[in-house]
């Protein structure tokens, strides 16, 4: 059994159907790229996996490490090793990143039966993991994401990932808005975190990230479904041909040529 098994997942909000039968299996050591036009449901998939309650699961199942993931609270999922890097990281003015991370790391460690991380070890970890994504150490002491540049926010997400050492890491457009240097830094960080026991789902708009993080599988998401899966060559093909050929015509209106939503930071 794979670490993550998504079967026929249907998700909606009120009278909108967003995901219309997603199937995806991911196992430790694998990197899955999910590509697709704007509005195809990529973020919805990520958030449903992370436990955002505003989305209604209408059909299908998600097994994580043999358990029903959909039955778990968001915090229980995180404690069980599920991590999502947000497409739009939230600013938390007044919440010190140090205090928050200490609580976060220790909540996860406690759930996993590990000892609380002492102050000195915690600081050591913060240094090492901030280095991994070249995050200015000053930012580890400020309020979470407050006043961070777009690129800093994205690197901060990977910094959290590194601190929490999840088994399933979902990156939602961590590459959008990054210039080429920042992209390389993030990709290097992710590559160093690749591990036999860890699965990655990397949601991206562009093939360019995949030049740095080589995926084992690429999935094209169109209209709330995985329209096609393949290896890394599929990413190149999608970049060249767009998504229209996969969806019988309605991908164009879903924004085949859509520009990135964020300005380059």
């Amino acid at each position: 059994m794979a670490l993550l098994e998504i079967n026929d997942l249907h998700v909606g909000i009120e009278d909108t159907e967003i995901l219309r039968g997603v199937d995806l299996d991911a196992d430790g050591g694998e990197v899955h790229a999910v590509m697709g036009p704007n509005g195809s449901g990529k973020s919805t998939l990520a958030k449903v996996l992370a436990g955002r309650e505003e989305y209604e699961v209408r059909q299908g199942s998600v097994q994580y490490d043999g358990e029903d993931l959909l039955e778990m609270e968001a915090e229980e999922r995180a404690q069980a090793g599920v991590f999502m890097a947000f497409q739009y990281p939230v600013e938390l003015p007044g919440v010190s990143q140090q205090n928050f991370l200490k609580e976060s790391v220790n909540a996860v460690r406690e759930a996993q039966g590990k000892d609380e991380l002492g102050a000195a070890d915690f600081i050591k970890q913060v240094r090492a993991k901030a280095d991994l994504v070249d995050l200015d150490e000053a930012l580890t002491k400020r309020s979470v994401n407050e006043g961070f540049s777009g690129g800093e926010k994205k690197r901060n997400e990977i910094f959290h990932l590194a601190m929490l050492e999840p088994r399933l890491a979902i990156l939602d457009e961590t590459d959008s808005g990054l210039d080429i240097d920042a992209l390389r830094i993030v990709a290097d960080g992710v590559n160093q975190l690749r591990d036999e026991d860890r699965a990655f789902i990397i949601i991206t708009h562009y093939q360019r990230l995949l030049n740095y993080i080589e995926p084992d599988y690429v999935h094209a998401m169109v209209g709330g479904r995985i329209a096609k899966s393949g290896d890394k060559d599929l990413a190149v093909e999608l970049e060249e041909r767009g998504y229209e050929w996969l969806s019988g015509g309605n991908a164009a209106e879903n924004g085949k040529a859509a520009e990135p939503e964020e300005a380059v930071a």
């Binding site: 992370a50 436990g51 955002r52 309650e53 505003e54 609270e73 968001a74 915090e75 999922r77 995180a78 404690q79 991590f83 999502m84 947000f86 990281p89 939230v90 938390l92 003015p93 007044g94 919440v95 928050f100 991370l101 609580e103 976060s104 790391v105 909540a107 996860v108 759930a111 309020s143 959290h160 929490l164």
Partner: protein, 456 residues
Amino acid sequence: MPATVQEEPSTEARFLRAFEGLSEKAKNGTVEAVKGRRRRAIERFEELGFPTNQLEAYKYTNVAKALKHEYRLAPAEAAPQASEEQVEALLLGDLDAHIVVTVGGRFSEALSEVGPLPEGAFVGSFAEGANAHPSVFHQHYGQYADFEAGDPEQRAMTALNAAFARDGLFLYVPEGTRLETPVYALHLPSAGDEPLFAQPRHLFVVEEEAQARLIEMHRTPSGYAPTPGSFTNAVREAYVGARGHFDHYVVQDEGAGASQHTTFGAYHETESIFDTLAVTLSGDLVRNNLTITPAGPFCESHLNGLYLGRGETHVDNRTVVEHAAPDCVSNQLYKGILSGKATGVFNGRVHVHRGAQRINAYQSNKNIVLERSAQIYSKPELEIYADDVECSHGSTTGELDEEAIFYLRSRGIPESRARVILLGAFARDVVENVRSGPLAAWLTDEVDARFGARTA
């Protein structure tokens, strides 16, 4: 016309009668500045009566309606005193301070521990201070909270206090003197069978180039049952001389059954700094009237407030900054967190007088409502008669941000804890404005503790 029923004497009538019945000692046991005003004060009160919400200034806060009891007007002589251990438990951890304690509005010699003071300075009882410094009283008493000046709608409670004023705190820091350690004033309720209507009167005089910090805490010792329904009508006056600096912090936490009406008039001279904070952690009805007059140029006035309302707590902060002099800065930050059926009211007025140019005045009121049943009335007001000024005001009321809660949960933090973290973060900028480290730390822990028990 229906037959007239025998009417109960009005609450006002009871106070008038009590005034006439005051003992010689109660009426005259102090200096001319205080006793010479009593008669006029009770006459003014008789004309005005307790504020009702017919008055614009009390639109959301009906003081008259909150006075539901027969009150005792002075703490019972035989009332049990708090023990030294109980006082000890209410000190601020590692705060080194001049400690003064009042019980039921009266200075307690036995529980206070003022310690050594710089020469000429006075920290202690209002009654004693008046006798020791009659000329200071003559100059300052009744000047900044004057029942015959300022907003007519806000005079009644000041007049009532002036009629009965006997004791409270007096702080006097003469010219050029610095109090190196802060004053920590602990106000304890008095125990007894009938609810007390206490009328403490405080006067703080920090002269030219002098400096002081005062932390006032209204708290209830554990294992000490105050009579529910007590009412405190406190009046404070502060004077800060040129280039002086006075920090004044007050915490109101007497429990859900106690009500407070406070009036605070502060007046500060050229290039002085006046810093004030009112934190309301519990109470039945709480109304704070604050009026600040930076009277000379280059003054800084900082007004901060934090109120946590749960159950049926009603908290109303009304502030007025009278910018009569040019080149001053005033900064107001009031934040509230309300749950249950609590009500929060904020009415802030910045008044820039004609000719008071180059004023920077900021005013912000922010509220978080945890349940729809809680209510907020917020009205920041600017009234400007000068053209070269920089003023802003703003008010927001909202719920906790669901996306922020989700962000914390997605990092393994339980939902109830996530809410507490976000509430603490919301209060943080007010707490950070507190210049006393031990008080700031205490407040951080209290906000945490008050909501930590809340289940999501």
